[in-house]
């Protein structure tokens, strides 16, 4: 019996060693260690042995079984390793083949600029306000200190629906509406579509976008306006941006200013974008005219405020290097996809 066991041990070891795959290995395991496996059969035959022989043979069988188990495990590991290796080899791919993806779309440059400006002002505690595009003339003009005979009301510049209803020529009517409905402190920006009776060409469009800002509170000063716009310009156009105020005139602000920023393309040295001047006219601004505050139900003796406004297209064009405004509204997908 000892020889038989030794033979099983010998045979199985040889077979395990020459085993080529996991299936074969598991068959072998059944053949030797399974319920009807050779070693098991031997173990079962132990009943016929003498009590003296039993423990000897028993421990021999156990020893061989342990050895075999270890060998099976070892071989299994080996074969698994090999199999994995083989699989990894066959699963080699060409990573330079094209990807499978849902192509991303794009946000329009105007949305991107508005979004960027919104983030900056949201961060400074401003809310975003909007109002009607088809607007009452009283909000577009009268409340903003633009009396009936003011040149800005000319049919030449403003689209009229009736004498009392216009397409807003600026986003300022939103400011008037907010002031009427909200007590100071007011801190808002109003982005939106505006309409002016300009023919379409490379730098003009009858529809364009503005962002205006308004702050009304106690003790708001012109230096606050300058500080706010300086911060905005740095965040929006780069930390090195400088801002310059020049006196100007608007009916709804007094004192009024135009603000230039150091050219964000050349840094102020002078280039095509800034026409060699080093400065780019960015926006109009000023302290809210006391008449405007009064017209909107805010006491100018108690409160003061500042307002500013600029065109989105001009900034988008300068920022993205777009030379013809018509591209923004033509919406050729080859243009849109670039942003």
């Amino acid at each position: 019996m000892k020889e038989e066991i030794a033979k099983i041990g010998e045979n199985s070891k040889n077979e395990i060693n020459s085993c080529k795959d996991l299936k074969q290995l598991s068959d072998l395991k059944v053949k030797y260690l399974g319920k009807k496996g050779e070693l098991t059969v031997v173990l079962r035959g132990m009943g016929s042995l003498s009590p003296e022989e039993r423990p000897v043979i028993g421990s021999l069988v156990n020893q061989v079984r342990d050895e075999l188990n270890e060998l099976f495990d070892k071989k299994e590991k080996e074969l698994k390793q090999e199999e994995l290796k083989k699989r990894l080899e066959t699963e080699n791919i060409d990573v330079t083949e094209p990807s499978k993806k849902i192509e991303l779309g794009s946000l329009h440059p105007i949305t991107q600029v508005i979004g960027e400006v919104e983030e900056i002002f949201l961060g400074m505690g401003y809310e975003i306000a909007d109002g009607p595009e088809v607007e009452k003339a009283i909000y577009n003009f009268d409340k903003l200190n633009t009396p009936p005979d003011h040149p800005a009301r000319d049919v030449q510049d403003t689209f009229y629906i009736t004498d009392d209803i216009v397409l807003r020529s600026q986003t300022s009517p939103v400011q008037a509406r907010v002031m009427e409905n909200q007590k100071p402190p007011i801190k808002i920006i109003c982005p939106g579509k505006v309409y002016r009776s300009d023919s379409i060409d490379a730098t003009h469009s009858p529809v364009f976008h503005q962002i205006e800002g308004l702050v009304v509170d106690k003790n708001i000063s012109m230096t606050d306006l300058k500080g706010t716009l300086e911060m905005f310009a740095k965040k929006c156009l780069g930390e090195k941006t400088k801002i310059r105020f020049r006196p100007h005139h608007f009916p709804f602000t007094e004192p009024s200013a135009e603000a230039d920023v150091s050219c964000f393309v050349c840094g102020g040295k002078g280039c095509k974008v800034c026409k060699g001047e080093g400065w780019i006219e960015l926006l109009g601004c000023g302290m809210v005219h006391p008449n405007v505050l009064r017209n909107c139900g805010i006491d100018p003796e108690e409160y003061s405020g500042f307002a500013f406004g600029f065109g989105v297209e001009r900034i988008a064009m300068a920022k993205f290097g777009i030379e013809d405004m018509r591209l923004l509204f033509e919406n050729d997908v080859r243009f849109l996809k670039q942003f």
């Binding site: 779309g105 505690g125 049919v155 689209f159 629906i161 300058k226 100007h248 509204f329």
Partner: protein
């Protein structure tokens, strides 16, 4: 407004270059458009004398000349025909520069050396009208007397140097529409003394008369004419103006006509008050009335155009007819003629708004009207008329008659503003002393008496403290203002619900591969028709009074035509795969809002338009479902819509929440596609974001992940083709609910058609998943529920269970 430095120097010393002056004035509020340094662009062009002219040996059309240019004799080859030996001509020497950018260099012409060029009037950028006798296509022949200047710079000899600054004048500063006003700004900006050369006019006393030489004046419309002054000049000799006057007019861009007309223009430029001069004999009845025109009344203006007027227009009239459109232009009938002997100078002030409207109506925006429309000072009008008479005598154009006719019904108010130093400092964010402020104000001739600032007559724009603050700030220096941050309570900057929704929608769409477009709100009648927009939407369109053109006449009641237009643009450019979205508004006059002076309905609309590979109804539907999920709208129905003619009747659905239709999606109607020349099928959607907002829940709530296992069942049935799978789903959901067996999900995994199933039939297969969150469901109880479901499907849909 153009101003020459030479003229400005009469008002202030100027010790900076024209460009520097431009920069300084820009920073004090007189914005400079351009600085034109005339004559600077001509270099090394001198006076020369032609000594010899010989034929060119190698060219018939050229000649070889010898020219004396003072220091030497040079040889020039030219093709000019109008030259003779002895002519004095401008010579561009080797290295010369001309205004057109040409640089002259020594060279050879057909084998003969040529060391320069003779110049024409045009090549020196001179106006042929200023040099009578010269010809366009020949060399400029100078007066013989210039022989003594041989070799000298032509710029000096012809006095071509002129520095001109062009200012943008804002509407609040009509006083700066004059050399005097700009001169004052220059003086204060440079911190020089304002020389006030016309200060004498303020003190001049001229006697008032009812009539002069039989002339009398009445103002019938005192609301539109605040003052009318007339002075009369006799023994007038119409001739050319002196050179100095012509030169100044030219620098300001005004053409010289004759001495009397030039005086009116000169005074307008100098003092900012438009003047008018007319022949006293052309005034019938010698009686001037300032009145509203009669409807349909006609006048032929100085530019020989007949203009029709109405009662909103103000005219200067004699007893029979209008002789001028007030503030805009004189009439041809009262023009100064060469034989005019007695001239009336009119200096009047009209209501700016009326002049502006009249100028617009008759289509004439003149130097005069553009000043009047800003609102002029009635006090200045008197100075102007006296200045005109002074100039008549100065240049010997005639003799002044003493006295003036001065009708002045509404005296100009003096604006007095309490000077509150603290308030100004608060508004500006400065810490200026009262003295600093007063110093600035007094330089600007704003007197301060007992803490009251008194605006001078020419500064009618100063009406409140903010105006005074601006004056202080301008000359304190806008660039000296600090940058500070608002010292106030913190405010919260957050997007509101609607803004958040729009942001989310944009994100989903971009991630789904769509590109955003921007469209105009304008549209035409034709666009609405091309898109088959329904009558009951069309009728809400809003018509513009003054559209840019027929194609921009309406404000769109639907965004579909705008999207179709952009799809067509892309299709026309052969762009293959186009997926677009637009978030913008529609404009609907649903209830006569516009006629009632109210704003119409304006909703935010998401419009989608797509065509190309792998795009169909279900792709579009998926995008919409993702959007609704992203903004947390959970309950909605997608219902077939057969009657929206913009869409394919078999491939269109409404998105409904309860009874509220919040959008429509589908394939564009083939007719619509054809109208836009789009060959591929296109898919469009319109979603009303404004309506959607109220259905979007802002807060999401966590639902516990299930602990108990689900029971799965497949359900495959055969139904008639016209049965919508939605109906099946509704029945299954309803029955499961009735059987109190929680149906967790129901996924359609197959729709199958073939002959075995039968014609007009389809097999629909679902994977159902039941799960109770509180216990494990048994197979038996689900079997019972499934039986009920199947029975109901058989009953209502005539469904057949597929084996």
């Amino acid at each position: 407004m153009k101003a020459s430095i030479e003229w400005l120097k009469e008002y202030s010393d100027i010790n900076v270059t024209p460009v520097e002056l431009g920069d300084i004035l820009t920073m004090t509020g007189s914005k400079v458009e351009t600085v034109d340094q005339k004559g600077n662009d001509i270099k090394n062009v001198v006076v020369g004398k032609i000594l010899e002219i010989e034929k060119h040996p190698n060219a018939d059309k050229l000649v070889v000349t010898k020219v004396d240019v003072g220091t030497e004799e040079i040889q020039i080859v030219t093709g000019a025909k109008n030259i003779n030996v002895g002519n004095i001509v401008p010579i561009a020497k080797d290295g010369a520069e001309l205004p057109n950018g040409v640089k002259i260099k020594k060279g050879e012409l057909r084998g003969i050396d040529s060391c320069g060029m003779m110049c024409s009037v045009g090549e020196l950028n001179l106006d042929i009208a200023d040099y009578p006798g010269q010809i366009e296509d020949g060399i400029m022949i100078l007066n013989r007397s210039f022989e003594e200047y041989l070799g000298e710079d032509i710029v000096d000899i012809l006095n071509l140097k002129e520095d001109i600054i062009d200012f943008e004048i804002t509407s609040n500063r009509p006083d700066c529409f004059s050399i005097e006003g700009l001169g004052r700004e220059v003086a204060v900006s440079l911190n020089k003394k304002f020389k006030n050369p016309r200060g004498n006019l303020n003190k001049l006393k001229v006697e008032d008369k009812k009539s002069i030489e039989g002339l009398s004046v009445d103002i019938e419309a005192p609301d539109l004419c605040y003052r009318y002054i007339a002075r009369v000049v006799k023994n007038v000799k119409i001739k050319e103006s002196p050179d100095w006057m012509k030169r100044r007019l030219k620098a300001c861009g005004v053409r010289s006509i004759n001495n009397i007309v030039d005086i009116t223009n000169y005074v307008m430029l100098e003092l900012g008050q438009p003047m008018h001069a007319f022949d006293i004999n052309s005034i019938e009845g010698k009686h001037i009335t300032v009145r509203r025109a009669k409807n349909g009344e006609k006048i032929t203006t100085l530019d020989e155009q007949e203009r029709e007027l109405d009662e909103n227009n103000l005219v200067i009239a004699d007893d029979k007819k209008p002789v001028a459109i007030a503030g805009v232009m004189g009439g041809l009938n009262s023009e100064i003629e060469n034989d005019t002997e007695t001239v009336v100078f009119e200096s009047a002030v009209f209501y700016g708004g009326s002049v502006r409207k009249t100028a617009k109506k008759v289509g004439l925006r003149t130097e005069s009207s553009s000043r009047f429309e800003k609102g002029l000072s009635a006090e200045n009008a008197l100075r102007a008329v006296n200045r005109a008479v002074e100039l008549v005598e100065l240049i010997g154009a005639g003799e002044a008659i003493d006295g003036k006719i001065d009708v002045y019904p509404t005296k100009q108010e003096v604006h007095k503003i309490k000077l509150d130093v603290d308030k100004i400092n608060n508004l500006l964010g400065t810490k200026l002393s009262k003295k600093e402020m007063v110093d600035i104000l007094e330089k600007l001739e704003i007197k301060v008496e007992n803490d009251v600032a008194i605006a001078p007559y020419f500064r009618m724009d100063l009406t409140c403290l903010a105006d005074i603050a601006e004056e202080v700030a301008r000359f304190y220096g806008y660039d000296k203002l600090d940058s500070t941050l608002i010292k106030a309570d913190t405010t919260l900057g957050v997007r509101n619900k609607g803004q958040k929704i729009i942001k989310k929608i944009r994100e989903v769409l971009v991630n789904s591969g769509l590109s955003e477009i921007y469209t105009y709100g304008f549209i035409s009648e034709k666009d609405l028709e091309k898109s088959n927009i329904a009558e009951d939407v069309k009728k809400y369109a809003i018509t513009l009074q003054n559209p840019l053109g027929e194609e921009f006449k309406l404000m769109r009641p639907s965004t579909i035509p705008s999207m179709m237009q952009i799809l067509a643009t892309n299709a026309n450019k052969k762009n293959q795969n186009v997926k677009l979205f637009d978030i913008s508004r529609n404009y609907k006059n649903t209830n006569h809002q516009v006629e009632d002076g109210e704003v119409p309905i304006q909703e935010d609309i998401l419009t989608i338009g797509m065509y190309g590979d792998n795009i169909d109804f279900y792709v579009l539907k998926g995008i919409i479902e993702n959007i609704l999920e992203a903004i947390n709208v959970n309950r909605y129905d997608i219902e077939k819509e057969k009657n929206n003619r913009s869409y394919h009747p078999g491939r269109c659905a409404n998105i409904k929440i309860g009874i509220d239709t919040i959008g429509t999606i589908g394939e564009a109607h083939p007719e619509v596609l054809q109208n836009y020349d789009i060959e591929k099928r296109a898919y469009i959607a319109e979603i009303n974001i404004t309506k959607l907002e109220k259905y979007s829940r802002e807060n999401k709530k966590y639902v516990e992940i299930p602990k108990f296992p689900a029971v799965e069942r497949d359900l495959a049935i055969i139904v008639d083709e016209e049965v919508e799978v939605g109906e099946i789903e509704k029945i299954v959901t309803k029955k499961a609910k009735k059987a109190k067996k929680p149906l967790e999900s129901m996924k359609l995994f197959d729709i199958y058609r073939d002959e075995k199933i039968g014609e007009n039939k389809k097999s629909v297969a679902y994977a159902l998943m039941f799960r109770d969150k509180n216990k494990t469901l048994s197979d038996d109880e689900i079997n019972v529920a499934m039986d009920e479901i199947i029975q109901e499907l058989q009953k209502t849909l005539n469904a057949e269970l597929r084996k």
